[in-house]
Amino acid sequence: MSKKRTIAEINEKILSGKAVVLTAGQVAAMGREATPAEIAEKVDVVTTGTFGPMCSSGMFINFGHTDPPMRMERITLNNVPVFAGIAAVDAYIGATETALPHDQYGGAHVIEELIAGRDVMMHATAKGTDCYPRTEVKTLINRESVNEMIMFNPRNAYQNYNVAVNSTSKMKYTYMGTLLPSFGNATFSTSGELSPLLNDPEMRTIGIGTRIFFGGTTGYVAWHGTQFNTGKPVNEHGVPVGNSATLALIGNAKEMNTRFIRAAYFEKYGVSLFVGVGIPIPVLDEDLARRVMIRNSQIETNILDYGSPGHDILGRANYESLFSGEISLNGKKIRTAPLSSLRVAREIAETLRREISAGRFLLTAPVENFRKTSGLNSLDVRL
């Protein structure tokens, strides 16, 4: 009879200092010799981590009211436009918004500056109303002066992602980095066997309300992420091939750390934000033990040609070969490089492991599991 345990039982063990907590990397290594039943018997929690560029990120901010008050309608922070179409002094800073014409500096940089505790120049204008008479304000704001900095990212932590190559004779500048002509390189962006959603691919333990490591502090899964897609083919090891599920995440950016939130600019593409995410997976039973044992050699993804308009699928690669620095495509060897930092992903998984082992981070059961969707709508251009 295989071992089964509940999240409440695991939390009791965590609080009494008896829980066995390992990183997904450690369990993947153990899994070469141990069986799922043995892992389920020995291990209580497995920690994951990822640190990659995640464009669909941003931050709600509440600036506090001036005297007399103002209903801010147009706002810039360090010259980057932020969304002001919500109540008086609330705004949303989108990571990819840029301070045109200087498109190398954007919302992600403003977010990083604020998290670092630095001053940011704010300029807001309004028409003025009877209840909000002020029409303009220009001042410096920072982490301490504002009331709220709530990071809310609609699409983070992709479950698997494509490999990018370029078949054309010209350099391609993409969100997958600079792609050299004639299959000169291949880029990929996940932490493989350390990646959160690859360690619980059916999201049995990850759902709305799950407590996570987010940008250096505690955050939560708010919802399924945008473009959440469970319709992708699954390989023999139970892992979707190509980009599939995603998470919407929320957390207090005032407590975040620039070690785990960093602004990025991809040449001739635009601004993005490196986001650090770590999710603990409770090993409830043998099935989950089997999932967290997943190794890079068992995780596969599609190789896409970013040189073709439709990003044609050219082949498949597994993460063992991608991390080795070389893949083979139609008999041709292609040099590979990551865009997501395995070094920081390991640090996140290890930090989370330590926090749980020390009893400072308890596990949660999802308030609700994600709905199963089978696919995505594409935009029908009707005019």
Binding site: E267, R335, L342
Partner: protein, 136 residues
């Protein structure tokens, strides 16, 4: 026998001396030109690998100095702010010379300046803009 890569900076006014030829014939330095950017009337740059015993190499560099040709080891010309690096690997993607790579064990970025060909692709490929080049 030492083999190192240098960035040679030529002044706009031509020296009239066949520098590379002399390095080979007079000093017996083995040279391998990796990259050349020399136009009449402009500051020129040559990225060159030079192999010779230390003493000879020193004499060759002194000779170039006398000809107003600056000769600086490549790792003092291309630098990156290591302490700010997140080890994402985006720079290694474009480094066809293999000077930038992610170490498989530590997952950290490794920069081997002796392999650098000063193609300058890392300058734009780094999403954090941590690389800089000083060619004078």
């Amino acid at each position: 026998m030492k083999s190192r890569r240098f960035v040679l900076t030529f002044p706009p006014e031509a020296t009239g001396e066949p520098i590379t030829y002399n390095l080979i014939r007079k000093f017996d330095i083995m040279v391998n030109i990796v990259k050349a950017d020399v136009s009449p009337g402009q500051v020129g740059h040559l990225v060159m690998e030079m192999s010779a015993p230390s003493k000879v190499l020193k004499e060759g560099i002194e000779y170039m100095k006398q000809q107003n040709v600056e000769c600086v080891p490549i790792d003092r010309k291309i630098t990156y702010q290591e302490e700010l690096c997140v080890h994402c690997g985006a720079c290694s993607a474009v480094c066809f010379a293999g000077a930038l790579s992610i170490d498989r064990k530590s997952a950290e970025l490794v920069f081997e300046p002796e392999k650098c060909v000063v193609c300058e692709l890392c300058l734009t490929a780094c999403p954090l803009k941590l690389f800089s080049i000083d060619l004078g």
